[in-house]
């Protein structure tokens, strides 16, 4: 393309033709300057994210906080009541049961998921025939929608038609049915088993990714120095895997502590509230009973606990990285 101002000084007609072109150039340069402005570019790039986070995270969170401080119920307006809902929840024996259950459920499920996930990751890190197939199939519990897989577990634990009871009975290992879901303690442990089954692949696949970043030379060197399998794991693998493990555990605690679907489908919080978690109880109060304010207060009790856990773990992670 011909440069419109390349001709130097010339006739008026040429100047007239050149002016719009020089304007376009100026505009383009202005635009370039605009795009090169890092502050503006950062603002433009961040805006969609900020809008999305604001609409789908900040707004519901702020509304949740407002609800928890109000007397709102379904179809009725909100009036500010201060911390009344929190005090009511704290004095509620079902809430205390749900809080204890949530802590117990999260603690044991996370321990089992970590131990079994680590074990699985170490096995899958070895070379064997069909390794890819096994790795892919291991993800199945994680891929199947929780509601569907929990329904399957519910059938397996069914008080009347449990395939587990039938198998154990047929094999002569039991004489009466095991009370999988009809005994409060059993039901909570059953929920922990299902959560472990479902969450273990997440641990395994993430830890496997961590394991693959560890240089094999380190293991070889340790072997040459006479370290056995356990010592190689404890002194080589584990220290190098700690940062990944901390991150996975943080994620898992957040997900498990706020678990809802699994309990809702498996037991509905029963028998006699023995499997209610904070999320299922908040739902029962907020949605089934229509007391949205009280329900919001119950669910917000999760926030300081999770905040504390995440803060401690991330501090630990920072220390590990600094070491």
């Amino acid at each position: 393309m011909k440069n419109p101002i390349a001709g130097g000084a010339g006739s008026a007609a040429r100047v007239e033709v050149a002016l719009p072109h020089s304007g376009a150039v100026r505009r383009r340069r202005a635009l370039e300057r605009l795009l090169e402005n890092e502050r503006l570019l950062a603002f433009a790039l961040l805006t969609p994210t900020v809008v999305l986070l604001g609409a789908f995270i900040a707004y519901p969170f702020v509304m949740g906080v407002w609800f928890s401080l109000s007397s709102i119920s379904v179809g009725n307006p909100a009036e500010f009541v201060g911390l009344k809902n929190f005090v009511k929840a704290w004095n509620d024996s079902i809430f205390r049961t749900a809080f204890w259950n949530t802590t117990f459920y999260t603690f044991w499920a996370t321990i089992f998921k970590l131990a079994l996930g680590m074990w699985l990751a170490i096995i899958l890190n070895r070379h064997f025939r069909g390794k890819r197939l096994v790795r892919a199939s291991m993800l199945l519990p994680f891929i199947i929608p929780t509601v569907l897989s929990t329904f399957a577990w519910r059938w397996m634990f069914d008080p009347t038609f449990s395939v587990l009871n039938w198998t154990l009975y047929t094999a002569g290992m039991i004489v009466t049915k095991l009370p999988f879901l009809s005994n409060g303690d059993w039901a909570l442990w059953c929920a922990i088993v299902v959560n472990t089954w479902r969450g273990m692949p997440f641990f395994a696949i993430t830890l496997l990714a961590g394991l693959q970043t560890i240089n094999t030379d380190l293991h070889e060197a340790a072997s040459l120095d006479g370290a056995n399998g356990w010592k190689r794991f404890w002194h080589v693998t584990w220290p190098l895997l700690k940062p990944v493990t901390v991150v996975v555990v943080v994620f898992s605690i957040i997900q498990t502590f706020s678990d809802f679907q699994l309990i809702y489908v498996l037991t509905g919080g029963g028998p006699a509230n023995s499997t209610h978690l904070l999320a299922t109880y908040a739902y029962q109060i907020g949605v089934a009973t229509g007391l949205l304010g009280e329900g919001a207060a119950i669910s917000l009790f999760m926030l300081p606990v999770l905040f504390l856990v995440v803060w401690v773990q991330l501090r630990y992670l920072r220390r590990l990285e600094g070491a």
């Binding site: 379904v74 008080p159 919080g269 028998p271 006699a272 109060i285 089934a288 009973t289």
Partner: protein, 437 residues
Amino acid sequence: MANQGDRMQRRTFLKAAGVAGIVAAGRAPAFAQGTKLHIVRWVDFIPEADVELKRQAPEASKALGAEVTFEFINANDLQPRITAAIQSGSGADIIQMLWNWPQLYANALVDVSDVAEPIGKAQGGYYDVFNASAKVGGKWLAVPHGCGGNAVAYRRSWFNEIGVKEFPKTWDEYREVGKKLKAKGKPIGQALGHSFGDPPVFSYAFLWDFGGAEVDASGKKVAINSKGTLESVKFLQAFWKDACDEGGLAWDDTNNNRAFHAGELSATLNGASIYIVAKRQKDKIKDEKGEPLFQDIEHAALMPKGPAGQFALYLPFQHSVMKYSKNQKLAKDFLKWLHQDANYGKWFEVNEGYSVGAAKKWEDHPMWARVDKPLQVFRQAARLTRAFGHPGPASAKATESYTKYVIVDMYAKAVQGMKAEDAVKWAEGELKKIYEG
């Protein structure tokens, strides 16, 4: 550009076409074209009842000049759906309300007295339970639709085998019978988990049988910690161990149906669905001799008598028009249409007694002469029931107690080993927070 003459011609044409349409339809269209009416109901325990309503939808659409659609969802999901709809101000135009839910959602429901009153009057009057369940502050906030009765379904031959020719009259007798049946591996089944139907209908009626009650007649003072309640809890602890399938603690409303059909239970408190489904699937559901199971099922209209009498809690249900609906007039017209004898009667008949009418007129329907003897017990079922909160009003607080499963869990805790006194005290504490807090 079209000239004035062209426009006039088009208008003339449109007018002529409109008139032709009205003539063809036989009446003027009442609502704007494309208007839709969305109704949400539970998935009925009698599938044919939903099929009948779906069949009626096009007829209603034609009669009302708007598209009527039914959506059927799990009964346990109705309340979440209602909450989401009210809070977002959008959703179905009409929603089925179970129990006394209109009390809970009163501010979000349209006054439908102009629909409910004439229907009730024309059909011999509504049963008393609907005053508690659908009327708030003297206004009908829902149009009563029906009532799901329940009865004890039991295996006649198994009872005969242990020398019992008729259903036990008292709880003590029932316990003795249950003991013998459980010893033979055929226990009584009772759901005591967290589910909307069977656990509360048993627990509340059982409490009343022994003279217990949540509150006094004012509905403001908690009265659960009484001699009657304590006796009922102690009795259930023994009854559960001696006579019941202890898996019932984990049951929802469908488990006892399946277990009964599979020949695992000798008796269970349920709606008519156990019998009706067994009969409609007689080729599949058979007894241990290979005979259709329904032939061996009897119904006892009420659970046995306790020290204070014999009571029942049946499930009233009604339809509410939502305040956020833009089609309130259409919704009311639909409810009038639904309750016309010809339309309602067809739905009523396919129920065969599982859901009985909301008004007394339906006790005289010819269907009752045709249905099997075990189903006859449901004919006057709706006359017998009490409502949540008895002897106080069936208020929103009574609903809160129900949705928190306080009465159900009092018994569930006790049969799991908690001391009867402690279980009652626990319930008292929870109820005080609800009613007196």
